[in-house]
Symmetry: C2
Subunit: 406 residues, 2 copies
């Protein structure tokens, strides 16, 4: 009898569904605005008060009565931002006013300083205005009680500014998953060490840590486990005790020292152990003590592609991001490409715009070990299985990994 | 005589050119891979050694001689990843081998375990192979001496993995600019405080800090300066002494308390004090002790739009990013829009793809104080000055601020 994996090959959809079902949204926590960048808002935010909270000058100039047609008006004084005087504008008078200052009583318009000439204690007005000119009415930007941000919003510069503008010093956000990252394999050494024959450098620990951070998780690379049941068991149990999720790479194919699946079976539940895809076929998902364990293949590209398809959505969902999918786009192939006959294949590509059309060009040799195929890639092409080549011009689906160059 | 600004209105191109000329690239520093995410690579990186460094098994299975046609072969032993034995494959024999292990002497192909059946000390081979099958030759992924990353590359997951894979524990990157962020204005209070009449919350300090961080700088919000020459002078001098650049907001229009320009004139050189654009006309750029001072308008949208156009390019250039421009894209307006007759106007918009075409829809009322116009915006539309409306379908240029939804 030939050797076969005991794990059925499941579809990508099945695998993702299984993962998302075991990775529920985390609890809500409240953090200061200065820590909130890129976090996911956990509640709708309503403005407690209007912005601006008082009628304010939109320009530097003079607060006047619009219907007043006097050419020369007595300047009663000045109103600067942040101060409230007791000046009262009457016909024939004006108050000098600065941008952002409250409109004094009696005034109903502001005349820009550019249209005035000061003459001693008076000001000459060189233009007509209508009621409300260059006044920002109460609530012009934000009305009291208005919803300003939706639950699920990602907090960037504008969103954080908005929270500050309505007076909120903290933001309700979902807690971030703390993710342990474990490389496995006797052949792995740390960059900077000398390599003995048969050894290679561990790169997954570093690339996956960056990928976890990019996905909004807190990455904790915890080292390299050797290919022994004891070393793996100890590393895994420690990782599970102190983290929300564990990400391993290596040790999941069919070799005698691929010890992860038996260990995960012993400690918890393996939900799937193989997926019909290329690269990433041996990707394995388990839960141990209710916590998700993602066991990715050891080849560097396989690890990052399966991270992208399975781990990133899980980490985004845990943080409360409803939009955990990457944007998908139909693109035309710039050249013919070979692809797998039996499995959906994810090839690394540069998607670009030419003459208003989206084109895609793959990033050279697509070997599972060749990290260079991900350098300069802004998309994964999702190529359904089939015989023969896909011709230039064929329409395929691209998963956008980052902003398009244009 | 009407009041006029003594500063000539300069073009956007002139302003940007002036800024970039005063913001040279920073020095190179070497940091650990785990700190290197999103940093800009300061040197080309060549691989010191090939990857893989030895001929390695691409699959779990048996190392054999391809020309050997024996159906049953004696298993001489096993070769696991990370170990070098002294096994020698001869005709009629095979060595069990694991993915990533070095190919033993004599063997020139690997047969996947799925095509074999173990029979006692022998293995039955059920398929033919040719020389090189499932062997990763030396340098398949990376050749010795090959350039793997270009100076200027932004270090993401794949790039960091690549540095690790070639054995480099550190990355040469450009130093990040440390940016002091100062809000100005007597009317400003911190979020969470009570507002007295005439006061508003400071939002720029928070939104600009997030924008600086997003642009790769190190943001240090240093507080609020009051509208007095002493308060401003003290805050500015302290900021300059301890930072690479200073970002202020407010105090640059034409009011009596717009004290920043006179102070910058006294302390250094003002390169421009007004730009023909909307919003952001009063944006001011100076150097003091050779350090760049960006004085942005106080309205929250004006501050973020002028940050985007002038400060982000400067911060990216300081960090060695040659591609400091945002991608520009021609898009069609989804609806008619009004725009400024005399100044290039930057309106906040959502650019999206429909039926393979790029369309843009603006994000509601475009007031300079309305941060909500930036929420959900992924682009700035660059609208050249002109009378009348731009009709639906008109082609305009969009500056892409983030990844497109599709």
């Amino acid at each position: 009898m030939p050797v076969e994996s005991p794990y059925p090959l499941v579809s990508i959809e099945h695998a993702l569904h299984s993962i998302l079902a075991h990775c529920p949204q985390f609890a809500v926590t409240r953090i200061s605005l200065s820590e909130s960048q890129n976090r996911v808002l956990a509640e709708d935010v309503l403005a407690p008060a209007p912005v601006p909270p008082f009628p304010a000058a939109a320009k530097d100039g003079y607060a006047v009565i619009a219907a007043d047609r006097s050419r020369l008006r007595t300047v009663l004084g000045e109103q600067t931002a942040g101060q409230i005087g007791n000046l009262m504008v009457v016909p024939g008078s004006a108050v000098q006013i600065m941008t952002g200052a409250a409109i004094p009583a009696g005034a109903d318009a502001v005349i820009m300083v550019e249209y005035t000439t000061q003459q001693g204690d008076s000001v000459e007005i060189e233009t007509d205005v209508t009621v409300g000119d260059d006044i920002r009415p109460v609530g012009q930007d934000i009305e009291a009680g208005q919803k300003v941000l939706d639950k699920g919003a990602i907090l960037g510069a504008a969103e954080i500014g908005l929270l500050a503008a309505v007076g909120l010093p903290t933001a309700p956000v979902f807690r971030q998953p703390r993710v342990a990252i474990l490389s496995t394999g006797d052949e792995l050494r740390d960059p900077g060490d000398e390599l003995a024959p048969g050894q290679i450098y561990d790169s997954n620990r570093f690339s996956l840590a960056a990928a976890v951070t990019q996905a909004g998780g807190v990455a904790h690379p915890i080292g390299i486990a050797l290919d022994s049941p004891e070393s793996l068991k100890q590393a895994l149990e420690h990782a599970i005790d102190t983290h929300d999720a564990v990400l391993t790479s290596g040790g999941v194919s069919m070799g005698k020292l691929d010890l992860l699946k038996p260990l995960l079976e012993a400690e918890g539940t393996v939900h799937f152990g193989r997926v019909i895809m290329k690269p990433g076929k041996p990707v394995t998902f388990a839960t141990v003590q209710g916590k998700p364990i993602f066991s990715l293949p050891g080849f560097p590209v396989s690890a990052l592609v399966s991270f992208e398809l399975f781990v990133r959505p899980a980490l985004r969902q845990m943080q409360g991001d409803f939009a955990w999918q990457r944007p998908r786009l139909q693109v035309a192939l710039a050249h013919a490409i070979s692809h797998d006959a039996h499995r959906t294949e994810y090839q690394r590509a540069m998607v670009y715009v030419k003459n208003g059309k989206f084109l895609a060009r793959i990033t050279g040799f697509q070997g599972s070990g060749r990290l260079l195929s991900l350098v300069g890639a802004n998309a994964l092409l999702e190529l359904p299985p089939g015989e023969g080549q896909l011709p230039a011009g064929a329409q395929v689906t691209a998963l956008l990994l980052q902003a398009l160059g244009a």
